[in-house]
Structures are given as structure tokens and as C-alpha cells.
């Protein structure tokens, strides 16, 4: 406890970096997964290929992906962009399936009604399908959010600072208080991410309150 209080400034700084490294990819991943999921939904022959294909990305070990990034992007080894891009790939891997499931959850008669009213494909996506897919997509976002917070910790091994540093440093220098602080802070952050997703979901689905 005293260790945490003595290092509050450092912990806050690492936590903020952690938020950015996990949060920005979460949003970027969603933005990319929506058109990919939509494409898979509209072109049924593509769906299995895209869902399985993107899903496989998730099985690449995170350390390997972090190390590969500079080679593929031409970035410097210590550049946080490496982590952001890698985490975005993981998020897309999780969310394409979620977006497809979400679009499939839209009742057929509601979708047909939208078409019959004269909404074009894009308006239908934006005004009807996505709003109705929010509950399913939010469920996927909660998984992705927690997963991101957890995976980002590995970035300490390639020298990108965030809460994971407390784990590696605590381990290397045998400071149990630092180690425990790192674990608790990561857990707390995952919880905050999860609650934030649920909060946004509630805001976007006022019609479900009853």
C-alpha cells in the first residue's frame, strides 16, 4: 500500500498510457470491423472466409506480433504505434464475427420494412441495422476491451511503457508490492473499460429500457 502511494504519480502515468494503448485500438478495431462485417453480411459467400480468416489473427502470439510490427510498418522498435496497430488487429479479429452476428440479429421483417420504405443500403445500415445490433456488438466489445487491457501488458517486453512495467519490474527486482499493484491496477482498468462499454450501450439503446 505504501509502495503504491509513494509511486502514485508513476502509476497514474503508466495507467494513462495503458488506457491509450488498449482503448485507441478498441475504437479503431470497431471502425474497421463494421465495414468488414457488413461486407461479410451482404455477401454470404464471403462470410465464412472473413469470419474465420480474421478470427485466426487472434491466434498469433502477441509477443510475435509486437516484434513483427516494426518490420512490417517500418517503424522504430520502441514506437508505441507498433502496439496500437497490433492491438487493432486483435480487436478486428474479435469484432468481425461480432458485427456479423449483430447484423444477423436484426429481425428480418424490420430490415424488410426499411427496404420497403425506400432506405438505401447505407441508410439501412446506419439508421436501422447498426442501432439494432448494438446489444450484440456491445457484448463483443466487452470481451475485446478486457482482452486488450490484458494483452497490452506484454508490451513491456518490447519496451513500450504501461502498467505491465510494474509486473516486469516488480518481478525482476523482487518487489512484491509493485507486482501486486500492477495486477490490481490492470484488473481495475479492465473493470473500468467494461463498465464504460456497458454505459455507452445503455446510452445508445434507450428503447430497451422498460
Amino acid at each position: 500500500m505504501t509502495w503504491a502511494l509513494d509511486h502514485a504519480g508513476q502509476i497514474a502515468d503508466l495507467a494513462w498510457r495503458h488506457v491509450l494503448l488498449a482503448g485507441i485500438p478498441l475504437l479503431l478495431g470497431l471502425v474497421l470491423a463494421i465495414p468488414l462485417g457488413w461486407l461479410a453480411h451482404r455477401v454470404p459467400v464471403l462470410a465464412p472466409v472473413m469470419v474465420v480468416g480474421t478470427g485466426l489473427l487472434y491466434t498469433i502470439p502477441s509477443l510475435a506480433l509486437f516484434i513483427l510490427m516494426p518490420l512490417m510498418l517500418g517503424t522504430r522498435i520502441l514506437d508505441p504505434v507498433n502496439v496500437v496497430v497490433a492491438m487493432t488487429i486483435y480487436t478486428v479479429a474479435l469484432l468481425v464475427r461480432t458485427v456479423v452476428d449483430g447484423l444477423r440479429s436484426v429481425p428480418g421483417d424490420v430490415d424488410a420494412a426499411a427496404t420497403a420504405m425506400g432506405l438505401g443500403a447505407l441508410r439501412r445500415l446506419w439508421q436501422v441495422q447498426l442501432p439494432l445490433a448494438v446489444p450484440v456488438i456491445a457484448a463483443g466489445m466487452r470481451v475485446a476491451a478486457v482482452s486488450n487491457v490484458s494483452i497490452v501488458s506484454i508490451a513491456s517486453l518490447i519496451g513500450v511503457a504501461q502498467l505491465g512495467d510494474l509486473l516486469t519490474d516488480g518481478y525482476n527486482r523482487n518487489i512484491p508490492a509493485e507486482l501486486i499493484t500492477g495486477i490490481l491496477a490492470t484488473l481495475l482498468l479492465a473493470l473500468v473499460f467494461d463498465r464504460a462499454v456497458v454505459g455507452v450501450e445503455r446510452l445508445l439503446t434507450p428503447w430497451r429500457a422498460s
Partner: protein, 381 residues
């Protein structure tokens, strides 16, 4: 006017849903497509607004081939009421109704004002405007579905089983209101149902489809009931079609005056059934005079259906058959007692009606006959 010209639809899996359909839905009238489940009703409807593309043939609206129009533009000009309602659950009632006006670029104020006006048109409280569909009953949702289709005042409406998801009492009420509404609006309507009673009640013209998407018969309801073209149509129209056909024969019946007693007063010298009326002479029901001495109260009354004066033979027959006294109660436009008729009198009127119809047919044949021979009945006035 909507015209199907030899329209067929075969789906990718080889199912032929509609087979060489030629049909005209006249302007300002309700054309009902009726048939068993899977006979291609929804497919036919959706080919009109190009949600489904015909495999062959073409469909025109007022002479324009719908295939030549931009689908989204075409659809915004056609009201569509979907099977099961299909309201947008995430939009309020008024936003649902305003969908097409907003797409057409109306400003929000005007579109929402129109939505509230339509709520009234379809018999809903304006207070429902800001609710979400989940907070409405099934009947209310169906009404909102109709209001949404009417929003931009389209001349053509496609209605796919719009009243099927509600209980029979509400359905009956919705049908009555819809009929009144159409009498004011005069839309060109293609209406789909699998319920032959609904088809006969609402249609100016009824098209019966058989499974495989082939048209069996198109005719006005009375003609469909009187002369079904084959066993399929006869079977579909139902065993009591003869009785139901009476619904289209106007009764011009003389009525008897009926002894009445006003509610709250005692019955004077009566054995058998006495008709009880309120102070305005509106019929309340029948009471067995021999068994109930003393002032009449409403709890003791037995009812029957009431036939409007100048209504159909079916209504008159039903009134007489459902009346405990055997005398059917006929009421005037204000709901006041006009008199009573018996079942025998209704049947006699029917026989008379039949004879007239036969004479009319005979004279039509005689008039059309090239030899110019006139039959005796044709000479009669």
C-alpha cells in the same frame, strides 16, 4: 393502376413462387390477393416495389414499367405495410411514421406534425407519439404500421397481412376502420391475406391464388361466392359460402311493428317474448313476458343481432335466427327500432331475389341473341 403482365418468379433454389400472373389492380380500389400459405402472395407484392425481381414478365404502375425506375425512389412512392408490423423498435412511434417523409426531405417539424395527424387518422391517441413500439399493444402496432405507410400520402399501397397478428375482435375492428378510411382516401391497394373472410369483407376485387403461384380466379367478392370457377376455389371459399353470399344481397323487406316495453316499466298483458327498448326506442333485448312480472330490468334480457334497415339479407337472416322470439330486430340509422322480420320472410325475399336475377339473366341473353327472339320473362317489366 397496377398491372402484372405475365409475371413469373422462380427462386434460385428452383421454387416457382409465382407462375405467369396477369392481373390488374384498378385505381382507387382494393384488390385482395388471397390463397393458402406459400402460394406466392408476398412474392407477388414484393415484385411490385422491386424488393424481389421478377424472373420474367413486367409490372407497370399507371403505365410505367417499375423495372425502369430507381428502386429506392419507387419505394418511397408506395406505401407498404408489412406482415407482422415490422416497426423500427429503436424509433419512437412518431419517428416510425415520419420515416418516408424524412427520406423525402421534409423538415423534421413538418414530418412529426404529419405523424401526429396520422395517429389520429388511424384512431390512436397522440400521447403515444413519443413511445417506443414495444410499449404498444399488437393492435396499436398494426395501426402505426398503417399510419407509417400512409405518411407521404402515396397513391399506391401494398399491404401484406396487415391485420393478421391480432385477435379476431381487434382484427374485425381494424378491418372496419380500414374500410372507412379507404372510403375517404381512395387509394389503389394491393392487399394480401390468407383469410378468405377478410378478402371478401375488404376486397372490391378478390384474386384467389393456388399453391405454385397460379391465379385461380379474379372476381368481385359476391361473384366469387356465387360462382366459384372450380373445386379449389369453392373449397377455399368455404362450405358456408351460400350463406355468406347473402351478405351481398340487399334486403328490401317490409317489417312488422312490434309490441315493446320500456325498460323500468312493468309488462302489461303479454305471454311470450316482448322486446324491451330504452326511452329513445333503441332495442335493448328480449324478455319472456309470462315469466317476469313487474318492472323490466336490463339484467334479464336476452339479445340477438340487430339488422340495419336496408342492410343485407344475411344481416336480416342472422337477426331473425339469433332472436329468442324468432323475430329479427331491424333498426334505423339512429339505432331506433324500425320493426321485426321473421326468417321465413327473409327466405321468401331471397327466393324472390333469385327469380329476379334469373329473369334478368334470361333477358340479357335474349337481348344479346342474334335471332331477336324475346322470351316471355324479358317482356315483363
Amino acid at each position: 393502376m397496377i398491372r402484372f403482365e405475365s409475371v413469373s418468379k422462380t427462386y434460385a433454389d428452383g421454387t416457382t413462387a409465382v407462375d405467369n400472373l396477369s392481373l390488374t389492380a384498378p385505381t382507387g380500389q382494393i384488390t385482395v390477393l388471397v390463397g393458402p400459405s406459400g402460394c406466392g402472395k408476398t412474392t407477388s407484392l414484393r415484385m411490385v416495389n422491386r424488393m424481389i425481381t421478377p424472373t420474367s414478365g413486367r409490372i407497370t404502375i399507371d403505365g410505367t414499367d417499375t423495372g425502369s425506375l430507381d428502386p429506392a425512389q419507387l419505394r418511397r412512392g408506395i406505401g407498404y405495410v408489412i406482415q407482422q408490423g415490422g416497426l423500427f423498435p429503436h424509433h419512437t412511434v412518431e419517428r416510425n411514421i415520419a420515416t418516408v417523409p424524412l427520406l423525402l426531405g421534409w423538415d423534421k417539424r413538418r414530418a412529426y406534425a404529419r405523424a401526429r395527424e396520422l395517429l389520429e387518422t388511424v384512431g390512436l391517441d397522440a400521447a403515444l407519439a413519443s413511445r417506443y413500439p414495444a410499449a404498444l399493444s399488437g393492435g396499436q402496432q398494426q395501426r402505426v404500421g398503417v399510419a407509417r405507410a400512409l405518411a407521404a400520402d402515396p397513391p399506391v399501397m401494398l399491404m401484406d397481412e396487415p391485420f393478421s397478428a391480432v385477435d379476431p375482435v381487434v382484427r374485425d375492428q381494424l378491418q372496419d376502420e380500414f374500410r372507412r378510411l379507404q372510403a375517404q382516401l381512395g387509394k389503389t391497394i394491393l392487399f394480401v391475406t390468407h383469410d378468405i373472410d377478410e378478402a371478401i369483407k375488404l376486397g372490391d376485387q378478390v384474386a384467389v391464388l393456388r399453391v405454385g403461384g397460379r391465379l385461380a380466379q379474379v372476381a368481385p367478392p359476391a361473384e366469387l361466392l356465387a360462382t366459384p370457377i372450380d373445386d379449389f376455389v369453392a373449397g377455399f371459399v368455404g362450405r358456408d359460402r351460400g350463406y355468406r353470399a347473402l351478405g351481398f344481397v340487399a334486403a328490401d323487406l317490409p317489417v312488422h311493428s312490434e309490441a315493446t316495453v320500456e325498460v323500468g316499466t312493468p309488462i302489461v298483458a303479454a305471454d311470450g317474448w316482448v322486446l324491451v327498448v330504452d326511452p329513445e326506442r333503441r332495442p335493448l333485448g328480449w324478455i319472456d313476458g309470462a315469466r317476469h312480472p313487474g318492472p323490466v330490468t336490463t339484467e334479464l334480457l336476452t339479445g340477438g343481432t340487430l339488422a340495419p334497415a336496408g342492410g343485407s339479407l344475411r344481416a336480416a337472416l342472422d337477426a331473425s335466427l339469433s332472436s329468442p322470439s324468432g323475430r329479427g330486430v331491424v333498426i334505423d340509422d339512429e339505432g331506433r327500432l324500425a320493426g321485426t322480420v321473421t326468417a321465413e320472410e327473409v327466405l321468401r325475399a331471397l327466393a324472390h331475389e333469385r327469380a329476379n336475377a334469373a329473369n334478368a339473366a334470361a333477358s340479357a341473353i335474349a337481348a344479346a341473341s342474334p335471332s331477336g327472339v324475346t322470351s316471355p320473362s324479358a317482356a315483363a317489366p
